[in-house]
């Protein structure tokens, strides 16, 4: 338990091994609500929404995975990455190549895409970890820019032969296949939500165990964590690996969702917008990743439906970033419950005052 002691600044207090803490009432309620919500999202939503919104919510599921990966990096470890969309592109590329080249079952391909992306993320992360703060963010931006140029030249696989699997003169591009058990849009939506839940569970498991504590220590003060004996390089690499794996899996889900991949769909500036929405959603909570994905995919679809230009959204995200950084560092996911709680307290106080006034 020495590492638990090391990062003592913020976290859960160290408890003797073997003693299980019983869930408190508020935690039970929270788990219950979460389960009900997830069941509704899985089973109820597709019945209520038109196909337009089912397709949109599939995108929300995909990008919530990307957002949670970025949230782990930014919120838990304090590493800002301005290149997650490039990582997503790598994941989508790997999945597409495997889907065209092999007949393996879809979940296996997702795993493989995640692993390939993880290896790429670690390979890039290792030398970059000597940089800190702003430099690290900028180097991720540079790497993303480079990957984008490479992708623009080699393109995404479209059923062709060779390592790159791209045939430029096709008159008719074959669509990327979906799993046989999730071919229709609502079924694929459920499939993506389940994968997203699995990825969130993976992150949750990390947060509640040793890596989570080590990350918290590193975020608090890296020299102190080092002094306490935490292998900061290992844990930072672990965070990179986790984020890359999850984003790679998300890329695989994306490939099946949209059937056709183009390099213009993964521009460098999207990584910047992604960071903006993740900040707005909140980097410290898992719900923040869902909020970020809703901002990133659901809101544009809504505005598109209403005929409002997408430019308004870009302006909104810019204002959101400024607002979050100056007033609410924990983002909307933290702020809205706080504001609601404050509102609740005020109402209760007003009610109490009212009843006191009535009492003799």
């Amino acid at each position: 338990m020495s590492e638990g002691h090391g990062g003592a600044a913020t976290l859960e207090r160290a408890r003797p091994a073997g003693v299980r803490r019983r869930l408190t009432r508020p935690q039970l309620v929270k788990w219950g609500v979460t389960t009900v919500l997830l069941l509704f999202v899985l089973l109820g939503l597709p019945q209520l929404m038109s196909l337009y919104y089912v397709d949109t919510m599939t995108q929300v599921a995909v990008y919530s995975m990307v957002a949670v990966g970025l949230g782990v990096l930014v919120g838990r470890v304090g590493l800002v990455s301005l290149g997650q969309v490039a990582v997503l592109a790598i994941g989508a590329w790997s999945a597409a190549r495997l889907l065209f080249a092999t007949t393996q079952p879809y979940p296996l391909i997702l795993l493989e895409a995640g692993l390939i992306t993880m290896v790429a993320g670690v390979a890039i992360g290792l030398p970059a970890l000597r940089l800190r703060g702003l430099y690290l963010a900028l180097i991720t931006l540079m790497l993303a820019g480079g990957i984008t140029v490479v992708l623009a030249t080699v393109n995404f696989p479209n059923g062709g032969h060779g390592f790159l699997g791209y045939n430029g003169s096709l008159l008719h591009i074959p669509p990327i296949r979906r799993p046989s058990f999730a071919a229709s849009d609502p079924a694929y939506y459920r499939f993506s939500v389940i994968i997203a839940i699995l990825m969130f569970a993976l992150v949750f498991a990390h947060i509640k165990t040793k890596p989570g504590r080590a990350w918290a220590a590193i975020r608090q003060s890296e020299p102190a964590a080092l002094a306490a004996g935490i292998n900061t390089t290992l844990y930072k690499l672990w965070a990179f690996a986790l984020a890359s794996f999850i984003t790679g899996v998300a890329g695989g889900v994306l490939a099946g969702a949209i059937h056709y991949l183009y390099s213009i769909g993964f521009p460098t500036q999207d990584s910047i917008t992604l960071l903006a929405v993740v900040l707005m959603g909140g980097v410290y909570s898992l719900w923040g990743a869902v909020v970020a994905a809703l901002l990133y995919q659901f809101l544009p679809a809504l505005l598109n439906n209403w005929g409002v230009s997408a430019d308004w959204l870009i302006i909104l995200f810019g204002i959101g970033v400024l607002q979050v950084l100056t007033t609410a560092p924990a983002g909307l996911a933290d702020q809205v419950p706080r504001d609601l709680a404050r509102l609740g307290r005020r109402l209760r106080r007003a009610a109490a005052r009212g009843s006191r006034a009535e009492a003799p």
């Binding site: 038109s50 196909l51 337009y52 919104y53 397709d55 949109t56 599939t58 995108q59 140029v149 623009a152 030249t153 045939n167 430029g168 003169s169 096709l170 008159l171 008719h172 591009i173 669509p175 849009d185 969702a257 949209i258 059937h259 056709y260 991949l261 183009y262 213009i264 769909g265 544009p300 679809a301 598109n304 439906n305 005929g307 230009s309 997408a310 430019d311 308004w312 870009i314 302006i315 909104l316 204002i319 400024l322 607002q323 100056t326 007033t327």
Partner: protein
């Protein structure tokens, strides 16, 4: 501290509101000057050539507003920073508004649902489903998107929609369920290369934007150059271009003094390359410069200036609006003026395409007796044969063929003292391009009608 925070919040809010107000108020004034030097779209002075034409000739019952159950149609157009094709469905809507004000389709007004997308395949597929399942459209008219044909062609085929569009992606021209009023990047580039080859250049350099479809587009010029025994160099550039100088130097070096440089880019990118060539003093260093249809705007001619006289030859898919005094062209200009307030670019190929697509749709719809369903409307679209749009070199036919390239003859225009003037009249695209040959053999005489 708290006051400080709330003041900043208020300022942010005020900034957002101010932007909103600015956006709303200046949207009308942000439209740039139009193609022709004389007539800005937003001014109310008369059209240069003929006198004011009554727009009521668009419908069958002048002045009678249509009040029956609407006929819903749909369109999907790309609208993202840097690339916006909304002018095309907006112009189609203007035409439909005119028809609705003048009798409609047997008394039924047409309602056009326009969905925009930002080159996001999921969004495009979702838009298509929205149009069909929520808006319940019975026909698709006016699609203009970088990748929509690729994404949705299977969907349209499954549902039996025969769409009328302004094509870009390969599937707009290679599937049975899409027929375009324009030639698209491949055949328009064919036209530009063909003109250069006819001037007996010794080498062709074909440079295009690196957007989806480059291989498909490049195959056309490659086939034409091979048939003419002329070497061709294929280049692509990532857009947006940040270093036009190196692009221009490379093109000129590769082409040589007796060669031709043919560009396939959107107008802003083509302008940047041509201006760089001019600043470097390279515009006279090759035999001629060519460009596919997107360059056919007076914006470009004005920005380039007189140094480019007789140097730049642009393929024009549609009849040049200047100097054409036909009823269709006058009607187009009149409808644009009266109903086309949301058409930003004014007179030009975008609005011409929108007009033509709407014209064809209305012509088809008017032939329907009985209810307007997906079956009846799309059967009518497919049955359009030898229709004179007044905007194209040829009569337009949909037909029941495995692929459609109904617009396969073009003009060539050239930049002359700030305007685009005709350099060559209607010329069919060479059948050296295998797709053209395939279409012509499938369509028979319909493909070659003048």
């Amino acid at each position: 501290m708290r006051r400080h925070i709330s003041m900043r919040r208020m300022i942010l809010l005020a900034a957002a509101l101010a932007l909103g107000a600015a956006g709303c108020s200046s949207s009308s004034s942000s439209s740039s000057t139009t193609g022709t030097a004389s007539t800005p779209a937003s001014s109310s002075t008369g059209v240069a050539s003929a006198g004011t034409v009554s727009t009521s000739s668009c419908g069958t019952k002048p002045g009678v507003a249509a009040t029956g159950t609407p006929i819903p149609l749909g369109a999907i157009a790309t609208n993202q920073p840097g690339t916006s094709f909304t002018d095309i469905p907006n112009m189609a809507k203007a035409y439909f508004d005119c028809v609705n004000a003048n009798g409609g389709i047997n008394g039924h007004p047409i309602k056009l649902y326009i969905a925009t997308e930002q080159t996001n395949p999921a969004q495009i597929a979702a838009d298509a489903r929205q149009l069909v399942q929520t808006d319940k459209v019975v026909g698709i008219v006016g699609n203009t998107s970088i990748i929509e044909c690729s994404i949705d062609s299977g969907y349209w085929q499954k549902l039996g929609f025969y769409i009328i569009d302004s094509g870009i992606a390969p599937e707009c021209y290679s599937t049975p369920n899409s027929a375009a009023v324009n030639m698209g990047p491949r055949y328009s580039s064919d036209g530009a290369v063909q003109y250069a080859l006819a001037q007996h250049v010794s080498k062709v350099v074909f440079d295009q934007a690196n957007v989806p479809g480059t291989g498909y587009i490049a195959a056309g010029p490659a086939a034409l150059a091979k048939a003419a025994n002329t070497p061709i160099v294929q280049l692509t550039e990532n857009v947006p271009i940040t270093d036009a100088n190196s692009v221009a130097i490379k093109e000129v070096n590769d082409a040589g003094p007796n060669g031709a440089v043919i560009l396939n880019f959107t107008p802003p990118q083509a302008l940047v390359i041509l201006q760089a060539a001019q600043k470097l003093g390279l515009e006279g260093r090759v035999k001629l410069w060519g460009c596919s249809t997107p360059c056919n705007t007076d914006f470009l001619a004005q920005s380039l200036g007189s140094k480019w006289n007789s140097k730049l030859f642009v393929n024009a898919e549609l009849t040049p609006p200047d100097g054409t005094n036909t009823p269709s062209m006058n009607l187009y200009k009149a409808i644009l003026k009266q109903y086309g307030t949301s058409v930003q670019g004014g007179i030009g190929s975008f609005s011409q395409m929108g007009f033509t697509e709407a014209e064809i749709a209305v012509h088809a719809l008017q032939s329907i007796t009985g209810p307007y369903t997906v079956q009846s409307v799309n059967a009518a679209f497919k049955a359009v044969k030898d229709f004179n749009t007044g905007m194209l070199c040829q009569l337009w036919t949909y037909g029941d063929y495995p692929l459609h390239i109904p617009n396969n003859a073009d003009y060539t225009v050239t930049a002359n003292n700030g305007k685009m003037t005709t350099a060559q009249g209607c010329t069919p695209i060479s059948a050296a391009d295998p797709q053209i040959a395939q279409y012509r053999s499938a369509a028979g005489t319909a493909a070659n009608a003048p």
